[in-house]
């Protein structure tokens, strides 16, 4: 399938025709497309009959790899090279007004994101972690301009447009840049339209951006489904026919449709069952290697963050309080809040029952944050200076930034690496001893 012609604006046919094409899927079996062999032919048994319907939905690796190769071919042009600066966030602010009084004038603001800065390089996984209400999701949405930021800059290095500030960009510029910026949402049940077929859901970004239509579009949808480990013929089904993990994969396929540079994963695995979480995490990692994707991974689950990220930013009440490479942050945090956060993670090891560093009280309200360092109200190491002066985010070690007056003096504790699990999943035994 010629993927090179994905970007150029193929004059798309009328959308109704497209919708039909994808919707009425009886045409799909006819074009045994280049990318995907038809696996249904080999698989005679209807999935539901055996009660293992879910198992049959997964593809084997060979089929998937051919689709990936195909896609990689199409990616050779106009990409930001790995390691280049992709996104520079400078002093990003999002304040939500609080109105009240006689004429509903603004009486205050919830400073959900209040001066956040970081850089993201192409090909890395940058994670944002923090408690609920710390502004991590708002940061992600403000980067994509889903929430119009109150201030600051989001400079995106678009492969075609060059560096543009998304905050100041015109609608036209934004529309041109957006295919490169995609998002995967938390709840796979709410983020897929129940009245659209899977094919239409995945095709929608391509249709809206008038990238392709007709046969090419169908093939592309089939290819995307294959890449996320699903079958092309699932395009004719509706989302309700799929489990949470599969829906999340559909969400990933939709995000991949326009060959984005950057994907924001907003709690993308939080709503999934433990056993399914691993599938999606592995898929995300694999796709990153294969397609050179960059992720902003937003999560509150520190073990997932530790597993997937290259660098981590810790947020607290709308501010970034620490940024560091993952291993460094987890082994030697420089900000007391990070320490408390790390010690709170329940380790899956009964011999490792450590008493967590209990934080007293609750997260302050972003509408009325405390003076000085926002964390001083709960910080066990707080001194007088913390109550008056807000510490800036400064480099305390190589590529390690922390916002704490005592970042150099405090000896904070990281997490202990758990002993590796040396129990293997049993494999199928030789059928010799017992028969039924």
């Amino acid at each position: 399938m010629p993927t090179e012609d994905m970007r150029p604006e193929t004059p798309a046919g009328p959308q109704t025709e497209l919708g039909e094409n994808v919707d009425t899927k009886d045409s799909l079996d006819a074009p045994a497309s280049t990318a995907v062999d038809d696996p249904a032919a080999s698989d005679a048994a209807p999935p539901e009959a055996t009660g293992q319907s879910e198992e049959d939905l997964d593809l084997d690796d060979a089929e998937r790899e051919s689709a990936v190769e195909e896609l990689q071919q199409g990616l050779k042009t106009e990409r930001v090279p790995i390691g280049d600066m992709l996104l520079e966030v400078r002093d990003l602010k999002k304040h939500f007004p609080i109105t009240g009084g006689f004429i509903r004038h603004q009486i205050g603001a919830v400073k959900a994101v209040d001066g956040v800065s970081f850089d993201i390089r192409k090909g890395e996984t940058f994670s944002i972690v923090g408690e609920s209400g710390c502004g991590k999701s708002t940061t992600g949405r403000a980067i994509l301009q889903l929430e119009k930021p109150t201030g600051g800059e989001v400079i995106f290095n678009d492969p075609k447009l060059g560096k543009i500030d998304l905050v100041q960009a015109t609608r036209k510029e934004l529309k041109a840049a957006r295919p490169n910026l995609q998002i995967i949402f938390q709840d796979p049940y709410a983020s897929l339209d129940a009245r659209m077929t899977v094919g239409r859901i995945i095709a929608e970004p391509l249709v809206i951006n008038k990238v392709m239509s007709g046969r090419a579009l169908r093939d592309r949808v089939a290819q995307l489904l294959t890449i996320v480990g699903m079958r092309p013929e699932h395009a004719s089904r509706y989302p309700h026919a799929f489990s949470g993990g599969q829906r999340q994969r559909l969400g990933i396929a939709r995000a991949l449709a326009l060959n984005p540079e950057l994907i924001i994963c907003d709690e993308a695995v939080s709503a999934l069952d433990v056993s399914v979480q691993a599938q999606v995490l592995n898929l995300l990692e694999k796709l990153q290697q294969e397609l050179g994707l960059t992720y902003i991974f937003i999560s509150h689950d520190l073990s997932v963050i530790e597993h997937i990220s290259d660098r981590v930013a810790v947020m607290y009440v709308g501010k970034v309080v620490e940024v560091a490479p993952t291993a460094e942050l987890f082994s030697r945090p420089r900000m007391p809040y990070t320490e408390a956060l790390l010690s709170s993670v329940p380790a899956p090891d009964p011999r490792n029952r450590v008493k967590p560093k209990i934080l007293i009280g609750d997260v302050p309200s972003p509408a009325n944050p405390p003076s000085g360092c926002y964390f001083h109200t709960r910080c066990p190491y707080a001194k007088d200076i913390c109550k008056t002066d807000a510490p800036p985010l400064r480099e305390v070690a190589d590529d390690h930034y922390a916002a704490c007056h005592f970042a150099d003096e405090l000896e904070l504790k990281g997490v202990n690496a758990l002993p590796p699990l040396d129990i293997q999943v049993p494999t199928r035994p030789q059928m010799a001893d017992s028969t039924a």
Binding site: E54, E131, A278, H300, L341, P350, L359, V415, I423, P429
Partner: protein
């Protein structure tokens, strides 16, 4: 606590194992729960047997749809309609005689009759009867996952905690209020007097969950059921709540049935663990055994699929293929076989494994890989106890009706007396 001298005068039909289970607070035996729906029957529990030991924390782990919450709701008799118990027994305080403990002499007028805190088969009780009401909230208390949805937004925290105390413990409002404030202090609330006056929306998630715990513990229950109490909370708050529960458990010596999907939480708080999959218990053991010597392929895969600190980054997580089958389908044989890497065709997809002891005492597993788990002859779906159970239930219903009639008569009598007096 009541004496636990062996009670030989057990009525006929009571399970034999109950007599050995005197250290247990709850003894669930072969429990089946079904939800007949328009789309088909959801078999939520398919023969679950476990007991909650006295003064210990039993963890129930499983993914969504494994039936872990349903077990808890069955114990409380608060299964959502049309769910109902189709088979099995839930013995509360097995082996304790009826006359063991008499409670609350000065009980308020409209509360349930003093329930003699002793042996009862909860499965046979009328979900709206007096006997279960004497247990529910009083002897067995429950904490739910969503502290926001399980507190009434129209009543103050104090009102809601006092309600239970007034119903079960005392008729004196002042005593109840003092008790409520004391409970709030015990769960680590700053300024408990003020908190008792505030409404749920004024509290943060962690504070609400503390209020829920205070409410659950206000009647000093023998057993606490915690249904995913920390799932909706942040890690730092989760750590606070877990620490609090550990402390309270040590102080009061109550038993906790802790339901969660997080292996981390299980490792941190539980003494014994039961792993559930599709309405069946697949493995049970002490927490140490579950984490260091797991046997069932599901348990092992589950442990290997969660990211661990310090794990090599290049190493992908172990994946359990597929996902939990939808609740209407029925998986023949071992429920895990469609996803099991060790599934043996011809055995696992045909025969339901039985539980067999393995290794350390108390460690049991249901998997054909291990000796003793494959029944010699195919066991049909159980139907035997249904008849006796039906009879028991009919008898219980008749008893309850008699009691209600008597109460109604008494009520009328007092009303007549009152009117005469006036």
């Amino acid at each position: 606590m009541a004496d636990t001298i062996a009670d030989t005068s057990r009525e006929e039909g009571a399970p034999a194992y109950a007599s050995e289970a005197q250290d247990a607070v709850i003894d669930v035996a072969d429990l089946y729960v079904e939800f007949p729906t328009v789309l088909g029957v959801v078999r939520a529990l398919n023969g679950v047997t476990y007991r909650v030991p006295r003064g210990k924390v039993l963890g129930v782990v499983g993914e969504s749809g494994s039936g872990k919450s349903v077990t808890a709701r069955a114990i409380m008799q608060i299964l959502e309609k049309p769910g109902h118990i189709t088979n099995g027994e839930i013995w509360y305080r097995p082996g304790e005689r009826k006359d063991a403990v008499e409670r609350s002499a000065n009980r308020p007028k409209h509360s349930p009759p003093p329930f003699t805190s002793a042996e009862a088969d909860i499965a046979t009780l009328d979900p709206e009867g007096d006997e279960i009401r004497g247990i529910r909230g009083n002897e067995i208390a429950m904490i739910f996952q969503e502290p926001m949805t399980s507190l009434n937004p129209l009543y103050t925290i104090g009102n809601q905690i006092e309600e239970g105390i007034l119903l079960h413990q005392t008729a004196d409002k002042n005593v109840a209020h003092q008790r409520c404030v004391e409970m709030l202090r015990q769960v680590g609330m700053p300024n408990p007097e003020r908190i008792s006056q505030s409404y749920p929306h004024e509290l943060s998630g962690g504070m609400r969950q503390r209020a829920m715990i205070a409410m659950a513990l206000s009647c000093r229950p023998t057993m606490l059921i915690a249904d995913e109490p920390t799932t909706a909370l942040d890690v730092t708050t989760e750590a606070q709540i877990l620490e609090l529960m550990r402390e309270l458990q040590r102080e009061t010596g109550m038993s906790i049935l802790f339901i969660t999907h997080s292996m981390g939480v299980v490792a941190q708080i539980c003494d014994d663990v039961v792993v559930m999959y599709l309405g069946r218990i697949v493995e049970r053991a002490s927490v140490e055994e579950i984490f260091y010597n797991p046997k069932h392929p599901y348990t092992i895969s589950l442990l290997r699929s969660i990211p661990r600190f310090g794990m090599s980054k290049d190493q992908p997580l172990e994946v359990i293929h597929g996902s939990v089958p939808d609740p209407y389908s029925r998986v023949p044989g071992c429920p895990f076989h469609p996803r099991c890497p060790a599934a043996m065709p011809g055995i696992c997809d045909k025969i339901v494994p039985v539980e067999a002891p393995i290794g350390a005492p108390g460690h049991g597993v249901r998997c054909h890989l291990y000796e003793g788990c494959t029944p010699t002859k195919t066991v049909a779906e159980p139907s035997a106890p249904a008849r006796t159970r039906k009879e028991r239930r009919a008898k219980a219903a008749a008893d309850a009706k008699d009691a209600r009639d008597a109460a109604a008569r008494d009520n009328r009598a007092t009303m007549i007396d009152d009117s005469k007096g006036a």
